[in-house]
Every structure is written in structure tokens, then in C-alpha cells.
């Protein structure tokens, strides 16, 4: 089976990827690789992963999201996760996966605002 490719959109210096379909393990790993390459190619300052349409996040995907945030961070890109459904937040914590160190926001709009602030702060700090 062909792996599902998730579209990665770019607005100014922010990348946005919305997970709309069920990811099996191989397509999830493909998604991680695609994202990191796209960050490198576009020199994006921020990345939003929107999970509004995800009704299940197991330990594999949860860990992958933590990894993406850590890896993008190493490349100098801020990551915000948006749109976690209540059921997903509950199961993640009960699983013992609290996505520590990963910034989250209620929705895409708030995530974009938070990211813009963080990017601005890091820009100020670098000057």
C-alpha cells in the first residue's frame, strides 16, 4: 500500500500540517521525514501540527510528535501542536504520554498567534 502523504502548507515563515487521515506507522514516519526536509528547504521559523481531525493518538504517534518537536527545535524551528480533542488529551495522559516539552494551543488561530510571539521573542533575543 502506498503511504499517505500529508500536505504541508506554508504561510510566511510558518509551516502548517493538518493530520486529516488515519496514519499507520510507516506513513507517520514518512510525515516526520517530509516535515523536517520541508523545514530545511523553506527555512521556516515555526511549525504547527494541527490534530483537530485526529480522534486517536497512541503512544507511537505521540512519541513521534514529541520527536518532531525536539528535532525541529534542534534545527531552530518552534513547534506548536493545536486542536487536541478532549478524548485524545485524556487518553494521552492516561497512557502516560504527556508530550512534555511540546507547546500546545487550543486551535490553529491561537497556535499561530503563540508561534508568532515565540518567533518574535527569539528574534529579539538574537539581536
Amino acid at each position: 500500500m502506498e503511504s499517505v502523504r500529508i500536505p504541508i502548507l506554508k504561510i510566511d515563515d510558518v509551516l502548517i500540517a493538518s493530520i486529516q487521515q488515519t496514519l499507520h506507522d510507516a506513513s507517520a514516519v514518512q510525515f516526520k521525514d517530509d516535515l523536517l526536509q520541508k523545514i530545511y528547504d523553506t527555512k521556516a521559523r515555526g511549525l504547527i501540527i494541527d490534530l483537530t481531525a485526529s480522534d486517536i493518538i497512541d503512544s507511537f504517534i505521540g512519541r513521534l510528535i514529541s520527536d518532531i518537536a525536539a528535532m525541529a527545535g534542534l534545527m531552530g524551528t518552534r513547534v506548536v501542536i493545536t486542536g487536541l480533542q478532549p478524548a485524545v488529551a485524556i487518553t494521552l495522559v492516561e497512557l502516560g504520554l504527556e508530550l512534555r516539552g511540546v507547546s500546545t494551543a487550543l486551535n490553529l488561530e491561537k497556535g499561530l498567534a503563540a508561534l508568532r510571539r515565540q518567533v518574535e521573542e527569539s528574534r529579539d533575543g538574537a539581536e
Binding site: 488515519t22 506507522d25 480522534d55 486517536i56 497512541d58 507511537f60 512519541r63 487518553t91
Partner: protein, 133 residues
């Protein structure tokens, strides 16, 4: 007699099939959105364990009833190497492969009943249940 459905686990695609099966049955049995997510997530963890540690196996979900309460039972079966030390793998953070320490204790927390029957070199049967409130 309640309905019963099974999925064969042979690849990572089958993990998705098994958890979709479980979620669909949970929904049909009247479980709410959060319990549906708990059941689907637990099945995802258990099916992935089968794939990673045993290579292949099966996941069966069925409707159950006890003392007037309805519920859903998940039976995960494989003929893999078995679990030599169950207490050890039930510790949070324990991991033998690819950092999968969360699998069993996490799945147990998401379900109500959780039983492991494992024989060295013969395989493992994990039975777990979720009851309707």
C-alpha cells in the same frame, strides 16, 4: 449471544484495522466518545506489541454481558516468544524495543479489566474489558 469480530495482525496497517474494528464496535455498543478513544488506543498499543514482539497474531473484539452490565472484551493472541517477566513489563517506562515502554501499563490504565496469560516460547494471550457505566 453478542457480536464478535477479529483482525489478523501481520503489518502496521493491521494495527489501524484492529483499532478501527474496536472503535466501531464500542460505538455500536453505546460507549461514549472518550471510552471509544480509550478502547481504540488500548487496542492500538496491544496490536502494535503483537506486531513488534511476535510478528503476527490476532485481535478479537466481542460484546459481553455480566450481571446485567454490557461491555466490550478484547482478546489479543500471538504465538510469539512470550513475556518472561510480566511484573517487569507492567512497570511504567520499561522498554525492550524501540522505546515502547508505555504499551502494557498504558493499555491497562485505559481499560477496566486486564489479564495476561503468557508462556515462555509459546505465546501470549491478553484479555481486557471495558464496561459500560
Amino acid at each position: 449471544m453478542g457480536q464478535s469480530k477479529a483482525a489478523v495482525i501481520r503489518s502496521d496497517l493491521d494495527i489501524v484495522i484492529a483499532r478501527t474494528l474496536a472503535r466501531d464496535m464500542a460505538r455500536a455498543l453505546g460507549f461514549g466518545a472518550i471510552d471509544q478513544a480509550r478502547i481504540a488506543t488500548a487496542v492500538s498499543e496491544l496490536a502494535r506489541n503483537i506486531f513488534l514482539y511476535a510478528g503476527s497474531g490476532s485481535v478479537t473484539v466481542r460484546e459481553i454481558e455480566k450481571n446485567g452490565r454490557r461491555g466490550l472484551e478484547v482478546v489479543c493472541e500471538d504465538q510469539g516468544p512470550g513475556i518472561p517477566d510480566i511484573d517487569l513489563v507492567m512497570q511504567d517506562g520499561y522498554s525492550t524495543s524501540r522505546g515502547m515502554g508505555m504499551g502494557l501499563p498504558g493499555a491497562k490504565r485505559l481499560m477496566d479489566d486486564f489479564l495476561i496469560d503468557s508462556r515462555d516460547g509459546e505465546g501470549t494471550i491478553i484479555t481486557c474489558r471495558k464496561w459500560r457505566l
